[in-house]
Symmetry: C2
């Protein structure tokens, strides 16, 4: 099946901050969306292979940071193409801590959404975590980065663990 | 809690086609996203109050149509601000049928994604349905409509059953 039609689905781009003890982590996700309005709940799909999956599963917390269009590939690559098991992704990124204790980058982030996970669904390679919004705030001004902006303007690639990964032919090389 | 930060989340806009016997229905949704790549699965959050919820729950099928930016408020309003219990939403809209039997509008739709529901999660007022993509195709050329385009350019409102509905102050009046 040619999955090109799936590339017409619109997404934003986010840094999902998580934490276990003193160990902070952050990863890029494009699958963040509000599922209910009362109470306010937000879902995020995370690969079971990710360190973030391990941290969210053990703590039941994460904090979504909404990426600004001003974020460059170096910033995104730090969170998106390395594993928090191998490197400290916040070593060179200034950050604050959300009430949950999860990190929020101080740069390139327009808003944060702090989540207490209340439900999850096992979907093969990924888990869709559903979290109640316990806190949220605006942290910057600008335009939220969309996934299409990331791919078309920044020419960003999609890592194999992303929900939307399929064929390398769909992944433009980073310029 | 001021939920303004949640409006920085990026969404597209879709017509979710469903069917029970000869009864066809379609509703607008902004919460459609791919959750896994192998097999390809897509999630959609639907209010329990919607007729679509009743149809998907009974048949386990729906077909996502990706809205084009060229869709106007009359077209969107037909699917978004009426109930299929009261009116035949496809009475004046030309359509084709996906392999699932669910309707796809022939106009203002860039792509269709046919789903066989394989899982669902109860989230208070809504159900997040997860479906395996059984067929998909490109049906038009253009730019996918984003939720922010709908709100900012078309000045579209958000109905009370939408996952992102909260305060009328956030809902601009239709011009």
């Amino acid at each position: 099946m040619d999955i090109t039609p799936l590339f017409t689905i619109t997404y934003g781009l986010y840094v999902v901050g998580s934490r276990s003890g003193d160990k902070l982590n952050g990863q890029i996700s494009n699958t963040v969306f509000q599922v209910t309005a009362d109470p306010v709940k937000v879902a995020v799909s995370i690969s079971k292979a990710e360190f973030t999956h391990e941290l969210i599963s053990s703590t039941g917390k994460c904090c979504i940071g909404v990426l600004s269009e001003e974020a460059d590939m170096t910033f995104i690559g730090n969170f998106g193409f390395k594993s928090g098991r191998d490197v400290d992704k916040f070593a060179s990124i200034p950050y604050t801590l959300a009430p949950s204790g999860c990190p929020i980058p101080e740069v390139n982030i327009l808003a944060y959404i702090d989540l207490e996970i209340c439900n999850s669904i096992d979907v093969d390679t990924h888990t869709v975590f559903i979290g109640e919004v316990t806190d949220c705030g605006i942290t910057g001004e600008g335009t939220p980065m969309t996934y299409s902006y990331y791919r078309e303007v920044l020419c960003g690639k999609t890592p194999p663990t992303a929900p939307s990964y399929k064929l390398e032919s769909h992944n433009l090389e980073k310029k």
